[in-house]
C-alpha cells in the first residue's frame, strides 16, 4: 500500500471515529431521557403530585410537599438573585470603571466556579445558625449565591452586544444615561438577558447539594422559615433507599425535574434563536 492510500485510509477512519464520538455523546442524552421515561412515567400518578410522604414501608405516598417546596425555594432565590445579578451585569457593561470592573468580573467568574457544596456551607453559617433552624430561606440564599454570577455574566454579555448606534441615537435625542440604558439598551438585549435568567433558574432548580443541610427536609409542607422538602434532595434520599416504592418515586421525581429543566433550556435557547455556546459566565 503506498503512502497516499495509507493516508487516505487514516483520514477515513479518523473522521469516522469523530462521527462515532458525536453519536455516542448524543445517544447518552437519549439513553438518560429514555430511562427516566421508562422507569418514571408509570409512577407519575395522582398520588405523586398530591400526597405527602408516608412513613417508611407504607406505599402510596407522594411528593407534593417537595414539588411545592422546590417552587418556593427556587422562586425566592430567583427573587433575590435575578435583580442583583441583573444590576451587577448592567454595571459591568455600562459603567465599567477601569480596574474595579475587571475585579468584579473576575469575582463573578470566581463565584460561578464555587462548588455547590461550599455554597451550602456558606448558607449554613450565614442563615441556619443565626436563625437556629434549617429553612427554605437558607436554601434560597444558597441557590441565589449560585444564580447571581450566572445572571451577571449573561446580562453583561448581551448588553455589550447592543450596537453602539442604538446608544448614541438615544443620547443624541437627549436621553440621560440611565434612561438610555433602561429604555433602549436593556430592551434591545432583553432576549439574551431573559435567556440567561431562565437558564440560571433552571440550573439552580436542579441543585441538591446546597440544600442538603440548609433546607433539610420536611414530612409536611415547609416554608421559608422552616425546613422544607425539595425535589432534588428527595430524589437523592429516595434513590439511595431500599424501598421499591421510594425508588419508583425517585424515578418519577427525576422525570418531573428533568422535564422542567429541559423545557426551560429549550425554551430559553429558542427565544434566543442562535447558536450560543454553553454560558461561560
Amino acid at each position: 500500500m503506498n503512502k497516499l492510500t495509507w493516508r487516505k485510509l487514516v483520514n477515513g477512519v479518523m473522521l469516522t471515529l469523530t462521527g462515532v464520538c458525536t453519536v455516542v455523546t448524543i445517544s447518552v442524552l437519549f439513553v438518560i431521557l429514555g430511562c427516566l421515561l421508562y422507569f418514571g412515567a408509570h409512577s407519575l400518578n395522582w398520588n405523586f403530585f398530591t400526597k405527602l410522604p408516608l412513613p417508611p414501608g407504607e406505599e402510596g405516598g407522594g411528593l407534593a410537599n417537595a414539588i411545592v417546596g422546590s417552587l418556593q425555594i427556587v422562586g425566592f432565590a430567583a427573587l433575590i438573585g435575578i435583580p442583583i445579578g441583573f444590576l451587577a451585569g448592567v454595571y459591568l457593561s455600562e459603567y465599567e470603571d477601569k480596574y474595579f470592573a475587571s475585579v468584579v468580573r473576575y469575582v463573578a467568574d470566581l463565584l460561578n466556579g464555587v462548588p455547590s457544596i461550599v455554597v451550602g456551607i456558606l448558607a449554613w453559617t450565614l442563615v441556619v445558625l443565626p436563625m437556629h433552624t434549617q429553612s427554605g430561606l437558607a436554601g434560597s440564599i444558597a441557590l441565589s449565591v449560585m444564580l447571581i454570577p450566572i445572571v451577571t455574566r449573561q446580562t453583561e454579555q448581551f448588553l455589550r452586544e447592543v450596537p453602539l448606534a442604538l446608544r448614541e441615537g438615544a443620547l443624541a435625542l437627549g436621553a440621560s444615561k440611565w434612561k438610555m440604558i433602561a429604555t433602549v439598551v436593556v430592551p434591545a438585549g432583553s432576549k439574551g438577558i431573559l435567556t440567561g435568567m431562565i437558564l440560571g433558574v433552571a440550573r439552580i432548580a436542579g441543585e441538591s447539594a446546597p440544600l442538603l443541610f440548609t433546607a433539610l427536609n420536611n414530612q409536611y409542607w415547609g416554608g421559608l422559615r422552616e425546613p422544607t422538602a425539595s425535589l432534588p434532595v428527595m430524589i437523592y434520599k429516595l434513590a439511595t433507599s431500599p424501598y421499591e416504592d421510594w425508588n419508583r418515586q425517585a424515578w418519577a421525581a427525576g422525570l418531573v425535574l428533568i422535564t422542567l429543566v429541559l423545557v426551560a433550556n429549550i425554551a430559553a435557547r429558542l427565544v434566543l434563536a442562535r447558536g450560543v455556546s454553553v454560558p461561560r459566565g
Binding site: 412513613p55 420536611n218 422552616e226 439511595t240
Partner: protein, 338 residues
C-alpha cells in the same frame, strides 16, 4: 409590568405564608427508630388537632448536633449523649427519654443462600475488621454447618454519617473483640477498616440490597420491611439468637430493673439465655427548658402519648415496647420539662 409585579407579590406571599397548623415542632436525629417515629407523629397529628411534628431522620449525630446548635426543638439518638456533648449544649440541660427498644442486625445479601446464617461475635468483628475477607472462610463455615457459602469477597457496608446504630454495633463489637476496641472503638462515627458507606439506615439497607455478597448492619425493621436476610448472633450465653421483640425485651430486662436516673445505659451483650446481644434503647433528646411555653406543653403531651398510647404500635414494626418500670420512671421526668 403591573401583572408581573402583582405576580411577584403573590409569589412572595405564598412563599412566606405558613401553611395552617395548630403547632409545629421540628425534630431530627436517629434513623434507627425512624419508621416508628414517623408512624407515631403521623398518628399523633391525626388525633391531636393537626399538631405537626416534622421528624427528619439524618442520623443520631444530626440529632445531637441539632439540639446542641439549637436548630431543632428536640432530637433523637440511639447513643446517649456523652458528658462532653452535654456540656456543649448552649441552652442548658438535656433530658434523655427512652422511647422504644430495637435491635441492630447483620443484614446480608447472598444470592443462592436461602438458609438463615449464624454469626458468632468474634466472626462479626473480624469481618468488619477485614481479617475475614471471603464468605467461604472456615470460621463462617464453622458457625454454619451444612450451608454452602460462595467463595466471594465479602463486601462490607457501613454508615457514612454520625449514627447511633453505628454506636450500638461498634459498642457490641468493642465488648466482644479486644482488637476491635483498640483499633476502632465505639462511637457514632468511626474510622472503618474497610467497606462501602451509605447514608442513614436506609442507605445501608439500599447498598446491601444492591450489592451481592455484601453484609451491613441495620435496625431490624429495615431488614424485615425489605425482606432481606439477617443473621442470628451468638450472645454472651453462647446461644445463637435471632432478633425479635421477645429477645430484645429480654436484653433490656437487667437495665429495666436498674435504670440510672438520667436513663443513659447500654444493653449490648446483655446477659440472659435468649437475650439478643445487639439491642438498644433509643432516646428522645429533650431540652429541660423551652423558651416557648406552648412548645413545652406540646412536647410534654407528646411524650405522655409516646409512653402510653404510642407503645401499641411497636410490635407491628418489630420494636419492643418499653418495660413498665422504665415508663413509670420517665413519666416523673416529664415534669422536669419547663
Amino acid at each position: 409590568m403591573k401583572t408581573i409585579s402583582l405576580a411577584l407579590m403573590g409569589l412572595l406571599v405564598v412563599a412566606t405564608a405558613p401553611f395552617a397548623a395548630a403547632q409545629k415542632l421540628n425534630a431530627c436525629g436517629a434513623t434507627f427508630p425512624d419508621p416508628i417515629y414517623k408512624k407515631w407523629f403521623s398518628e399523633y397529628g391525626k388525633s391531636h388537632q393537626g399538631v405537626q411534628i416534622n421528624y427528619e431522620a439524618n442520623g443520631s449525630g444530626g440529632g445531637v448536633k441539632g439540639v446542641t446548635d439549637g436548630t431543632v426543638d428536640f432530637g433523637a439518638s440511639d447513643m446517649p449523649m456523652t458528658d462532653q456533648e452535654l456540656a456543649a449544649v448552649k441552652s442548658g440541660k438535656m433530658l434523655h427519654f427512652p422511647t422504644v427498644l430495637g435491635a441492630v442486625v447483620p443484614v446480608y445479601n447472598l444470592p443462592g443462600v436461602t438458609q438463615e446464617l449464624k454469626f458468632s461475635s468474634a466472626v462479626l468483628a473480624d469481618v468488619f475488621l477485614g481479617t475475614i475477607s471471603k464468605w467461604s472462610d472456615k470460621r463462617i463455615a464453622a458457625d454454619n454447618p451444612g450451608v454452602k457459602l460462595p467463595d466471594e469477597d465479602i463486601v462490607v457496608v457501613h454508615r457514612t454519617d454520625g449514627s447511633g446504630t453505628t454506636f450500638v454495633w461498634t459498642d457490641f463489637l468493642s465488648k466482644v473483640s479486644p482488637e476491635w476496641k483498640s483499633k476502632v472503638g465505639a462511637a457514632k462515627s468511626v474510622s472503618w477498616p474497610k467497606g462501602l458507606g451509605g447514608a442513614q439506615n436506609a442507605g445501608v439497607t439500599g447498598l446491601v440490597k444492591q450489592n451481592p455478597n455484601s453484609i451491613g448492619y441495620v435496625e431490624l425493621l429495615f431488614a424485615v420491611q425489605n425482606k432481606m436476610g439477617y443473621g442470628r448472633v451468638k450472645n454472651s450465653a453462647g446461644v445463637f439468637v435471632k432478633a425479635d421483640v421477645a429477645t430484645v425485651t429480654e436484653a433490656a430486662a437487667g437495665a429495666a430493673r436498674n435504670m440510672p436516673d438520667d436513663f443513659r445505659v447500654s444493653i449490648t451483650n446483655a446477659p440472659g439465655k435468649n437475650a439478643y446481644p445487639i439491642s438498644s434503647f433509643t432516646w428522645l433528646l429533650i431540652p429541660s427548658k423551652f423558651s416557648d411555653p406552648a412548645k413545652a406543653r406540646e412536647v410534654k403531651a407528646m411524650l405522655h402519648w409516646v409512653l402510653t398510647d404510642g407503645q401499641v404500635y411497636c410490635a407491628t414494626l418489630s420494636y419492643a415496647p418499653l418495660p413498665l418500670a422504665v415508663v413509670t420512671k420517665e413519666e416523673k421526668q416529664i415534669d422536669a420539662i419547663q
